[in-house]
């Protein structure tokens, strides 16, 4: 028995055993339980078939949460991919001095916990005339705004918080990608008379594709599953008219606050399916599945 444990045949299985156990007990069982729970009304302890899912489709608050999460995800994709890519390209240029210094500064917000970052932004976007956000618009002669009580201004504050925290990290991703591109390519292109813009669109952009796909994938995932940022910005899960409610926020509200575990599990599974589908579409559209492109 002892000999078998040490044999070269069995050893690999021993090595991956912790992962196998994790998958079984902390992923497969919970997901299976989640599926089972989603067909039940846990509060009344009875099976309800597809009722939870049917209810979701006509649940206005869930649809609002779905819209909020989607809107947030799209906003972060628009702001947190092209701009960091552009900034990284500039920082990577030979003409730029001290890129390392700037890189470190831009990374700082990622070090703050979401509790701290959310609190800072909540107080910066306070509704009093003296909050930073109102002081800034005051300089342009605009009156104080109740930032976190209106739909669009709240969305703006949320996106700004996301940009503040993640611009630096995404710059790092793109810089790492850019630095793996051989400088010979740019030199050859410049000898052939290609200008900077052509070099960017013909060399950097295509060769950055793996990095872009990676950032796109994690942004979609993180955007749709966002909870903490809105929870901190609105000081809890109850924002006015649910302007800050996200899918995970709704899951938390139903499952933890209202103890409607079955309904909440249905919300979780819908989120899982949405994330999977969106990522599949994205990976297919960017050609990641195609073998020949490697």
């Amino acid at each position: 028995m002892k000999k078998l444990f040490y044999s070269q045949k069995l050893a690999p299985y021993v090595f991956i055993l912790p992962f196998v156990l994790t998958v079984i007990f902390f992923w497969a069982v919970p997901i299976a339980n989640g599926v089972l729970l989603s067909f039940q009304d846990v509060l009344q302890d009875k099976w309800v078939g597809l009722d939870n899912y049917k209810r979701l489709l006509s649940d206005k608050i869930f649809l609002k949460a779905l819209a909020n999460s989607t809107r947030y995800m799209i906003g972060t994709l628009v702001l947190l991919i092209p701009f960091p890519m552009f900034f990284a390209t500039l920082l990577n240029s030979k003409l730029m001095k001290k890129p390392g210094f700037f890189k470190s500064i831009y990374f700082l917000p990622a070090l703050t916990s979401v509790v701290v970052a959310g609190t800072i932004f909540r107080l910066m976007f306070g509704e009093m005339e003296t909050s930073l956000a109102n002081q800034v618009i005051g300089m342009f002669g605009l009156g104080p705004i109740k930032w976190l009580k209106n739909d669009l201004t709240g969305y703006f504050a949320l996106l700004l918080l996301a940009c503040w925290r993640w611009t630096g990290v995404n710059i790092l991703y793109f810089l790492a990608g850019l630095q793996s591109i051989s400088t010979d390519l740019y030199e050859a292109a410049s000898i052939d008379g290609a200008n900077k813009w052509q070099q960017f669109t013909r060399i950097s952009l295509p060769l950055l594709k793996p990095t872009t796909v990676y950032v796109l994938t994690i942004s979609i995932y993180a955007g749709l599953a966002m909870f903490n940022e809105s929870y901190m910005l609105w000081k809890g899960n109850n924002s006015p008219q649910n302007i800050g409610l996200t899918i995970v926020g709704y899951l938390y509200r139903q499952g933890i606050e209202k103890r409607a575990m079955g309904y909440a599990c249905a919300v979780g599974l819908v989120l899982l399916v949405i994330v999977m589908i969106v990522n599949m579409i994205q990976l297919a559209a960017t050609g990641t599945f195609k073998k020949e492109e490697r």
């Binding site: 997901i31 900034f87 070090l111 701290v116 910066m124 899951l251």
Partner: protein
Amino acid sequence: MGEKRKKKDRLCTVLMLIFFSILAILIILPIYTIFLASFKPGGDLLQYGLNLGIDWKRMSLDNYVLLFTGQHNYWRWFFNSILLTVITVVATLLVSAFVGYGFAAYEFKGKNAMFVVVLLILSVPLEVIMLPLYKQMTNWGLMDSYIAIILPFVAHASTIFFFRQYLLGLPKSLMEAGRIDGATEYGIFFRLIMPIMKPAFAAMAILNGMNAWNNYLWPLLVIRSSEKYTLTLGLNTLINPYGDNYSLLVVGSFFSIIPIFILFVCFQQYFIEGMTAGAVKE
């Protein structure tokens, strides 16, 4: 031509420096406002919000005095966070490196299927399984314990993935040499492989440490008793403005950035490596 070109280049450099400096100021601004606020009375925050105003007459070190000598649980939370972070990092690194080595060093039946599972888990948000997992932890009697926070994630998919990538380039001759010397398969991992994984450990220690230090939602569900609160959970209890809460919140928030900031300054290279590990294709 050379002269003109040089001038143009210099102009580019200056413009870029100006642009990136402005961006840097904008990014530091929120941290600066909370730094300023840490010297202002906590009540001011409620009344005026965060801003860049400096009124020397109202500024004092009172909040810092409160932080270091007052009656509150801040340091307990701080200690809990450090404890939890250290245990999480050590356990996660050890277990994930063990698994990652299994994937990188051996050929075995079911390996590809299992590796697909690693990739699959990478793309499933934890939030999806959060509630059933919460229920399961309750059934197992692990609620309100740090074990429930750590255990489900010690074999951590993205960390395993990173270690596997790192170890793929490993020369098989190293393992053969170990076997000839009479080491067991596990001895090879612990004695020969682990020592050469130091840079990978550093990068993952920082990434996992950062996540553990800032972790919020899962501990919020698991932890019940206030003496087990971590810093993020504890700070969040201060957002209701009773008594000294806001004074402690603002100075405590600012102070919580400091340990991780010091780590960042010392090990910057590893932070960047850890963060960007997945972004560049294998």
